[in-house]
Symmetry: C2
Subunit: 315 residues, 2 copies
């Protein structure tokens, strides 16, 4: 089976390497690219049987009803909150995502960002640039033996937990639901407030939802121990920025974030004042390996659907 027409919304030629486009071309007669919010989308949907959308592109009931031949919706993202997956399901249309494509990239970044601070690499490099080859006055600590708290034990949280266990950390987690299979592997469950108090390192790995909005609030920050390092690789809506600033002022913990591109400059200006707030561009998910996984999963999902064995279906 092949498609007659693929409509791609907010997916650019540069998003995939040539060999992946070749694979897509081999299963479809026609491809139409449209930008986000294009007025032509409804019109083009009429004879579309495969709809591919970029990150956070809406696919509504209206879109689906405009495409009587639609058989497949694929998104080049993990999130699918803008897609009416229930209505698609009702119409018998599977929606697929590329879950897990950047798991390793983000998990390795979390460990990297923590190690960078506890080993004072910046200070080390600066000393040597200034021809000072003395370690006196520098300090370092290890991940081994420390309490490593994972909040949100999904794909990325779990892989981060495994990496931390490899270092010999005492890994504990908090999650909306208990994960007994991971508890059997020595990852202990603790209540939010207990884990915030106990953890030397904290990694935030749940999605931003109404329930996790401002998860790190005044109360949470008051519980985090002195000397702790918090890494937030999820959207900063999970953190109350006023509460964060109040805790940063005490200069007794480090907060690391990488979703800076989604923040307002005035919010960032405030955080930049604190040396104990480490701000990165969104580089946690960008490994070359993640880019390869992303393209593979996206194209394999299409191919597997056509073979009658759909993968990564979210509805």
């Amino acid at each position: 089976m092949t498609f007659n027409k693929i409509l791609l919304v907010n997916i650019k030629e540069t998003d995939l390497d040539k060999k992946y486009w070749d694979k897509i071309d081999s299963v479809s007669k026609k491809k139409v690219f449209l930008p986000k919010d294009s007025p032509q989308i409804i019109q083009e949907l009429k004879d579309t049987d495969c709809l591919l959308v970029g990150f956070a592109i809406p696919v509504t009931k209206e879109h689906i009803d405009s495409a009587p031949n639609l058989k497949y919706i694929g998104t080049l993202a993990v999130a699918y909150h803008k897609i009416d997956i229930q209505y698609a399901k009702k119409k018998g249309i599977p929606v697929t995502n590329i879950a897990g494509y950047c798991t390793e990239s983000v998990a390795e970044f979390i460990i990297t960002a923590i190690l960078n601070e506890i080993r004072q690499l910046d200070e080390g490099k600066e000393r040597s640039r200034n021809k000072n080859y003395d370690f006196v006055g520098m300090s370092a600590s290890e991940i081994k033996g420390k309490v490593f708290g994972i909040f949100g034990l999904g794909n990325i949280g779990t892989r981060t937990a495994e990496l931390a266990q490899g270092f010999g950390a005492d890994v504990r987690y908090w999650n909306r639901t208990r994960k007994k299979d991971y508890e059997a592997k020595g990852i202990k469950y603790e209540d939010k407030s207990v884990l915030l108090k106990n953890a030397d390192f904290i990694s935030i790995n749940f999605a931003h939802t109404p329930e996790t909005d401002k998860f790190l609030d005044e109360d949470a920050f008051s519980k985090i121990k002195s000397g702790a390092i918090v890494v937030n690789t999820v959207p900063m809506e999970t953190t109350d920025l006023v509460a964060l600033e109040n805790r940063l002022k005490k200069n007794d913990m480090i907060f690391i974030l990488d979703h800076s591109d989604e923040m307002k400059q005035e919010e960032l200006n405030i955080l930049h004042k604190y040396k104990n707030c480490i701000i990165y561009p969104p580089i946690a998910f960008i490994s070359k390996e993640a880019r390869v996984n992303k393209q593979n999963l996206f194209v394999e999902n299409i191919e597997n659907f056509l073979k009658g064995k759909p993968t990564n279906v979210v509805n």
Copy 2:
């Protein structure tokens, strides 16, 4: 059993915390501190029954013969190449060291130093300082799936191998002798030249000896693959500096070192010209945990000897 007199050569009051000195005082009537090369050493040895020496302090046949009551020699270091351990053994005197005290500290540093480069953390921090929150133009890669070559599978090499395996690296080693027990754990042996060619990451973890002098020579550097990262946390005598510079000039690999304090400034000035040569002060071994281990091992060795169960005896 206790000692009558402990002579400490080139060990300072600040090398141990008070609680460790208290333990030492509880097993000895008297302590005498002398600096390295003090002319009083021979005189003081006459009634010494416990000799404690710092890093690379010579203990010769003459010293041992000057101390008819000597029962124990302990060094506050891993290396004991300046101690005549054979002659001490002949006289029935055990020599102890503090092997393994910084294993974890160095192994975590090696992984940290590699991750810092493959995730471009310096560039990330600089962009955000300049209010640039874009990842375009940055690149990142993962340890997972890469060939991680360990040269020298002692304590530190082995722990580094384990950490790399935790990341899902394909860990291979070269060592003077085969280590079948580690091969059973999936760490594959390869010849020096084969491993140099195959490895994405190279960690040098053997001691500097006449056999390992200039181990990384012109021939070795010519084999290392483009894009590789080499971490040398052992003395730089293991590396031919001219060969290193020749390879650095090609700007296709990264060399990381931390034994800068033992190098000549003119050597360092040459290396500083290359951005792909990352120079740290000697910070691999300095974790707080290593300092605790160091003191514990040093004092426990003394206590265990007095209990008739000597530990970490090297002769």
